[in-house]
Symmetry: C2
Subunit: 377 residues, 2 copies
């Protein structure tokens, strides 16, 4: 059987919300999809069997982390990221640009690319758009991202405009560097901060490049949710309906629900695992802080309607004890539960879109979050 | 069916080595047995399914940790330690005495008991022999330990003698406090440091109390291995053949092998999990430090003859990367592998005793450790 081509099929829409399938050479992705983040080659605190069992079709790897340690060429020699970590489904990688901004020291931008100092060992690295695509190829990434310039908000209009325009030129260079790769894709990234006009220019220019998918970057970086949603309202209608749309680094369950309503297909965020490590669970009834003393003698599970051992088998009292004691198992269980809950929420959204009841589903879901956790014992 | 009585059956001996079964109300324990340590209600970094799957019949809980957090009465209200953590096999608890010595501040000993300050919140606690047994009962422990006085080595002969004698008086008080509990047992603890005469006195006096089992304490606290083995050579022949013998807090794989040869039936130690968290694996070919650069591009697993995913599914290169990056998954996998290896080693020892080839097995095992790891790629 020939390798499947990269593609996107739209099965149903309901208002702005879209139910689709992204096809890759390594398997299909049911959308709307949430991609667990395997930062440095591991979804923190989880076995990949648990990630797959939770329902994830695709995971994400961070180019910045992996190029610094263990190194892209080394991963290539070890069978690519799929072989290295033991995941046979699709993998999406970012370009490294965002984390160069947020984690490295001594960043220097030029038309050619970015020079930065590793936060791991202080070594100086250069990354051009072409090198970013080369690295993502060495990693064996199925869905690759263009290199873009990410600027911290707030910033002045000129800086934002210049970064957006540089990102467009880099998108074209990445498109050429990527070429045609069976079963794989390279996405362009819409930039422009919180400036509607810049966002429109960015989206229109990328659309004209006829890329295989479109990411929306530079959001969920501290701005209010309504600013992010306003940008989606501007950008999504411009993007072609038959290409997948990926909102990078987002977000809370509510962010996901409201962004799907506006036409986003794919998401990634460290929130389920990072919050889990800090004792915070996301549930059908909103956020539950397991550090809270109210759970100390609560024999009930987090949510016995979730089909995940972490959610239904362990008591809140035990989770409370583990988190309070700083035990790894507490972090493992809450990361697992949260990963499961995020996948469950996406599956429910997909079903609601198929049934054309997404607005009702959203209202019910938000009301249940608002009503809050079960009463204390 | 009536609950099984606590008991010990000796199936075979080979030299000093013994192959037996400890029977408890919560299930049988094949001996020689290694008991993974669930310090604060969790075997660090492992799911209990993994502990059971590795072959462990019994795990250990630490009275000191659990009485301080979450508290013995609280655990009792939450279904005992078995219900709280989700383990339905036998559980052994220590008395708390050893960790009062090693972890708490402001320890004050008297005939009545010990007063100490919690390392968690600074609260003052009193623990008498009777309270230790009460706490272990609240935890629901199947095999309980007498409270003993543990003195740090080296110490003078008078201090050692006084501590040993106090421990004997406390053994009697614990025996009375424990009474008769169907399916459960309370073990006395042989003390006396590295003094053969004191060890003999302690063992003889405890034997006269006709307890259900005997622990050997105060060893593996920094003394050379030959001192520990010399004490076993003195103590084991005194202890009754039809009662189980438990060497507390021991040890390396070699410690286990050499102690089983001298007639020890049960062990516990944090070494498999603690070493695993620090990147050290115990294997059939000796110790393997996964931090070492030689593993950086080694695609081979730790040991593909071990029937454990952590040992056979993940490459050394990936384990090396995870440990170097401080990722939880690295600690989880090496703790799992080590726990599996320890259980595998005990099972092999049990088989060798049944086949009356324990001396040959020991020689082959030590030779293989000595020969060391597979050659670097």
């Amino acid at each position: 059987m020939a390798m499947a081509e990269f593609g996107f099929t739209l099965h149903a829409t309901d208002g702005g919300a879209r139910r689709g399938t992204v096809t890759t050479g390594r398997g299909d992705i049911a959308t709307p999809a949430f991609m667990p983040v395997g930062t440095a080659g591991t979804v923190k605190g989880l076995y990949l069997d648990q990630v797959k069992g939770a329902g994830a079709d695709i995971i994400l790897g961070n180019t910045y982390h992996l190029m610094l340690r263990p190194g892209a060429e080394r991963i290539d020699r070890l069978g690519g990221l799929h072989g290295f970590i033991g995941w046979d489904g699709p993998i999406l990688t970012d370009s490294g640009g965002f984390q160069v901004m947020s984690l490295s020291a001594l960043r220097q931008m030029s038309e050619k690319g970015v020079t930065f100092k590793s936060h791991v060992d202080g070594a100086i690295h250069e990354m051009s758009p072409e090198r970013s695509i080369e690295i993502q190829g060495l990693l064996g990434s199925d869905i690759q991202m263009q290199l873009d310039e990410c600027v911290a908000l707030p910033t002045d209009a000129e800086t934002m405009k210049a970064a957006m325009e540089l990102s467009l030129r880099w998108a074209e260079r990445c498109r050429v560097a990527f070429g045609e790769q069976p079963g794989k894709a390279m996405f362009g990234i819409v930039q422009g901060g919180d400036d509607e006009k810049l966002r429109v220019q960015s989206a229109e220019a990328l659309k004209a490049m006829d890329l295989k998918g479109y990411s929306i970057g530079g959001l969920a970086v501290g701005e209010p949710q309504e600013v992010m949603l306003a940008m989606l309202d501007v950008v999504c209608p411009i993007l072609p309906a038959h290409k997948p749309r990926y909102l990078m680094g987002v977000g809370t369950p509510q962010d996901l629900l409201r962004s799907v309503a506006r036409g986003v297909d794919m998401f990634d965020c460290v929130m389920p695992t990072r919050s889990g490590r800090h004792g915070l669970a996301f549930t059908r009834r909103g956020r539950v802080n397991l550090k809270n003393a109210r759970h100390a003698e609560d024999h009930r599970p987090l949510d016995d309607e979730m089909n995940c051992p972490a959610s239904r088998t362990y008591s809140r009292a035990y989770l409370h004890h583990l988190i309070r004691s700083g035990e790894m198992l507490g972090m493992m269980l809450l990361s697992w539960h949260n990963t499961y809950y995020y996948q469950w929420l996406m599956a429910e959204m997909r079903r609601a879109i198929e049934q054309r009841r997404f607005a009702d589903f959203s209202a019910e879901t938000e009301a249940m979050w608002e009503a809050g956790d079960i009463a204390a014992l």
